[in-house]
């Protein structure tokens, strides 16, 4: 992968990550108001903003950084209890999440520069956050305020740069090695800024062998650097060690007094430093001598006050005890003239070690972030992200494996080879396990989908002026990922519909003696091979009579038709039942209830309605657990094979003789209507002497399917039918049998629903 490709891939990671973080942020914000102990949630929200900002900076997305910075500042104040959680604050922060989402979409589409429209939106959002920021603190980013010492010396350097070599005096803290700071590494890095002319090692502080600590740093360095860089950038090289060390950077042509200060500040190393300065040509011996004489008096006059021109060295550098200074000043000029060393100098004070130790702050106990262990993040550590396409490919191959296994099983049975049969059955057991595990990979808890509705309910109830609480249960119910993705839209419509048309206004609720606050429930659970998702409201319910009247008016049913209550409810899902004129702008976003029904049906599911006028309504979506593989029951009609989903099969019975002209039979005293697959699918050929009935059930209704032969259970890998056959009623897909033949999968729900129509057809066929 080229660098550009890698960056692109990293950017894609960033977008995915940011979206997840935004989701966390939104969930966190929505929970804030009800949270009794919001500290953890606030920490998570802050971290989300913080991470987005950090990553945006990496990609050079400055507008995102700017926007998130303000958000982060507000959240930081919230985290530090400087401001309190309030509905207004949450209300101001939520749109920021949305805005970030839009910014991310722009990034995803490759627009890395700021969109003017979005920028204006961002400014407006910032204005809403303004009250939550302190007057001065927020708009001042830290890079406006570098260490003041650097600025002053930088000015001096600008005039002096380029006129000669810079002089650096490096007194590394005695503990620097223990912090992993290697003096040599810094000196080497200096060479990236210019040419190092000279490095002198001063070992004057090297202790006796007895006192020597191998982990401590004793060496000091005087470096002459030829560079065009200014003093500030050179002293920045040492920013990591500045705190515990004494680093002095003097630009070429600095005033002699600055050199004098360096020398006087060097304690027992003063003589050596003076010598290096002279020999490196930084200044003449006479100039230094004069400056030292002057500095000497200056030190005496100002006492322990820090000397102002101490270049980039931090203030503590000048903490040389006043008493020691004159002595050093007195001794140095003589030595530098005679070329002597500082070795004879009596140790005045152990200046270096003292200052280093004194500056090391007492170890503060950092509050451990134990409480931050957000479950989601912990999950990340244990999980990996896999491309959905790879997963689909795996499921596909496992499907083929199941078919191949079934084929092998068939051959073994035909050959009657006992040992082969035994090993095939063991193989099939394993294949089934692999199949289950593979399918499990695609299962995700539906809770994530549900929690998205917190926001929807909040926003929509605000728009409608209704007070509505959302109660979520069964969020841990696992559903096939493909299903989750496709159920979002229908669910959204049902939720909006319930809020819009179901839950009454506060006045009406008061009249009916209901609590002012409406409740909307989202629930999910597994029920005999299906997943059930319920949207329940405690609103006015659906009035069957009104629905029927309207359906008649729209010409959907004949006037005077007698329909069961359930049939009437189903009418609301008919295309043309509601028209734009009656749909409020909320629910009427181009998706009618008929589309909801179509979406659910496309997922091999169905919707049931349970309603009680004045009490409330439940929309119950029933979906298959997975879309890929089902346990089937293989039956034969003539030369054709069909698969009935096993979870629909109740039992199998023999068709009573003399049933030719009937369309129902007596099942232990119960009337069982049946459908003849032979007639339904128009299969020719002789009917066998004995026919069988597969009793299937769907949504509480039992129907018999008349077939020739019962073959048995069969692992069915669903191969969707092509576009051309998409609208064939009663067929849910196809599968390949072990022997290579194709079998159609019967869509029981469709068959049961269209059973009336089919019956009419069957009558026609029989009459012919």
């Amino acid at each position: 992968m080229s660098f550009e490709d890698e960056m692109r891939s990293a950017m894609a990671t960033f977008v995915v990550e940011a979206r997840e973080l935004l989701q966390d942020m939104e969930t966190g914000l929505l929970g804030l108001e009800n949270d009794t102990d919001p500290e953890e949630a606030i920490g998570a929200i802050f971290r989300a903003a913080h991470t987005i900002k950090g990553s945006s900076g990496l990609f050079g997305l400055d507008h995102l950084v700017r926007f998130t910075h303000v958000l982060e500042s507000v959240l930081d104040r919230l985290r530090n209890d400087e401001i309190a959680v309030s509905p207004e604050l949450v209300g101001a922060l939520l749109p920021c999440c949305d805005h970030l989402g839009r910014l991310m979409s722009a990034v995803e589409e490759g627009r890395l520069d700021e969109d003017p429209a979005l920028a204006a939106e961002g400014v407006a959002l910032h204005a809403r956050l303004e009250p939550y920021l302190t007057d001065a603190a927020a708009p001042a980013p830290a890079d406006d305020a570098p260490a003041p010492a650097d600025t002053t010396t930088a000015d001096a350097a600008d005039t002096a740069a380029g006129q000669g070599a810079m002089h650096l005096s490096l007194r590394f803290g005695v503990d620097c090695l223990r912090s992993g700071m290697d003096p040599l590494s810094f000196i080497r890095y200096l060479s990236t800024l210019g040419e190092i002319r000279d490095v002198r090692v001063l070992d004057g502080l090297f202790p006796d062998a007895a006192a020597f600590d191998p982990e401590s740093s004793y060496l000091d360095f005087e470096v002459t650097l030829e560079t065009t860089a200014d003093v500030a950038s050179v002293s920045d090289v040492f920013e990591f060690v500045r705190e515990d060390s004494e680093i002095t950077v003097l630009a070429a042509g600095s005033p002699a007094a600055d050199y004098a200060t360096l020398v006087t500040g060097s304690g027992e190393l003063a003589g050596a430093v003076a010598e290096v300065l002279v020999t490196s040509g930084a200044l003449t011996p006479r100039a230094l001598e004069e400056a030292l004489a002057q500095a000497g008096s200056a030190v005496e006059v100002t006492g322990t006050a820090p000397a102002a021109p101490a270049a980039a060295a931090p203030a503590p550098d000048t903490q040389t005890p006043a008493a020691a200074a004159p002595a050093a000043v007195a001794g140095v000029p003589a030595q530098s003239r005679t070329g002597g060393t500082a070795a004879a100098q009596p140790p005045a004070t152990a200046a270096k070690t003292v200052s280093a130790a004194a500056k090391t702050p007492a170890a503060k106990t950092a509050a451990p972030a134990g409480g931050q262990a957000a479950a989601g993040a912990a999950r990340e550590a244990r999980s990996i992200r896999v491309d959905a396409l790879r997963l689909d490919r795996l499921i596909d191959v496992v499907g083929e494996l199941v078919i191949a296994g079934a084929g092998a099983g068939l051959h073994a049975t035909t050959n009657g080879d006992e040992t082969l049969l035994a090993s095939i059955s063991e193989l099939m057991r394993l294949v089934e396990e692999v199949r289950d595990s593979a399918l499990q990979l695609r299962m995700v808890p539906i809770g994530t989908t549900f929690s998205r509705f917190q926001r929807v309910v909040r926003d929509v109830s605000a728009d409608l002026g209704k007070d509505i609480a959302l109660v979520i249960s069964g969020g841990e119910t696992e559903v096939d990922k493909a299903l989750v993705e496709q159920i979002g839209d229908p669910l959204m419509h049902l939720v909006r519909n319930s809020m819009d048309h179901g839950i009454e206004s506060a006045e009406v609720r008061a009249e009916r003696g209901k609590p002012a606050r409406g409740t909307l429930r989202l629930n999910a659970y597994h029920d005999s091979g299906s997943i059930v998702i319920e949207v329940t409201d405690d609103g006015g319910g659906i009035d069957p009579e009104k629905v029927l009247a309207k359906a008649v008016e729209r010409g959907l049913v004949e006037a005077g038709a007698s329909l069961s209550e359930q049939d009437i409810y189903q009418l609301i899902f008919e295309a043309g039942f509601s028209t734009a004129a009656q749909v409020s702008d909320l629910s009427g976003r181009g998706v009618g209830m008929d589309v909801v029904k179509r979406n659910v049906t496309a997922l091999r599911g169905m919707i049931e309605v349970e309603s009680k006028v004045g009490v409330g309504c439940t929309m119950r979506i029933r979906l298959p657990l997975t879309l890929a593989i089902i346990d089937g029951f293989l039956v034969g009609v003539g030369s054709a094979s069909y698969v009935v989903p096993l979870d629909r099969v109740i039992e199998c019975v023999e068709l009573p003789p003399n049933s030719d002209l009937r369309d129902c039979m007596d099942l232990r005293g119960e009337v069982l209507p049946f459908i003849r697959l032979r007639s339904l699918f128009g299969i020719d050929g002789e009917r066998p002497r004995r026919e069988n009935v597969v009793v299937v059930e769907y949504a509480g209704m039992k129907v018999g399917l008349v077939v020739d032969a019962l073959v048995g259970e069969f692992q069915t890998v669903i191969k969707p039918l092509g576009m051309l056959f998409g609208h064939v009623n009663g067929i849910g897909g196809a599968t390949i049998l072990g022997n290579g033949d194709v079998a159609l999968i019967i869509d029981v729900s469709m068959l049961v629903r269209h059973y009336g129509e089919r019956q009419a057809e069957r009558d026609l066929v029989v009459a012919r």
């Binding site: 660098f3 930081d76 990591f240 702050p361 451990p368």
Partner: protein, 122 residues
């Protein structure tokens, strides 16, 4: 053999970009998603430098630095903290814990490389 750098951040994109920049400069990079995970990577192998975020779930950067300093094999390993300008307190805490170097978030990959090369050779 390049020198090995452990990059600890809960953000996958940060790890990816920092890793990309460091690998490009000739370093070997290993990753940790939080303090706990990062500590498990300090299993005796040679690590020449650690780059760690401060704000992380499970174990934050400060605690991670303290734990690292307790390990004999890594107590001299330089550590770069990823701090934010708004968190001077965190920076001081990090330094007290033993992470003397820092890079202020948000940063460009080049800034990170500069900080790293001050501390170790590629």
């Amino acid at each position: 053999m390049g020198k090995t750098i452990l990059v600890v951040d809960d953000s996958a994109s940060v790890r990816q970009v920092v890793g990309l920049a460091l690998r490009g400069a000739g370093y070997d990079v290993i990753e940790g998603v939080d303090g706990v995970d990062a500590l498990s990577k300090l299993d005796g192998r040679k690590v020449h430098l650690i780059i760690s975020d401060v704000n992380m779930p499970r174990m934050d950067g400060i605690t991670f630095v303290k734990e690292t300093k307790k390990l004999a094999a890594y107590k001299f390993t330089p550590i770069i903290m990823l701090t934010t300008e708004s968190a001077d307190g965190k920076k001081a805490e990090g330094q007290a814990a033993g992470a003397k170097a820092w890079v202020v978030k948000p940063f460009q990959p080049a800034q990170m490389l500069a900080a790293v090369s001050k501390l170790i050779l590629p």
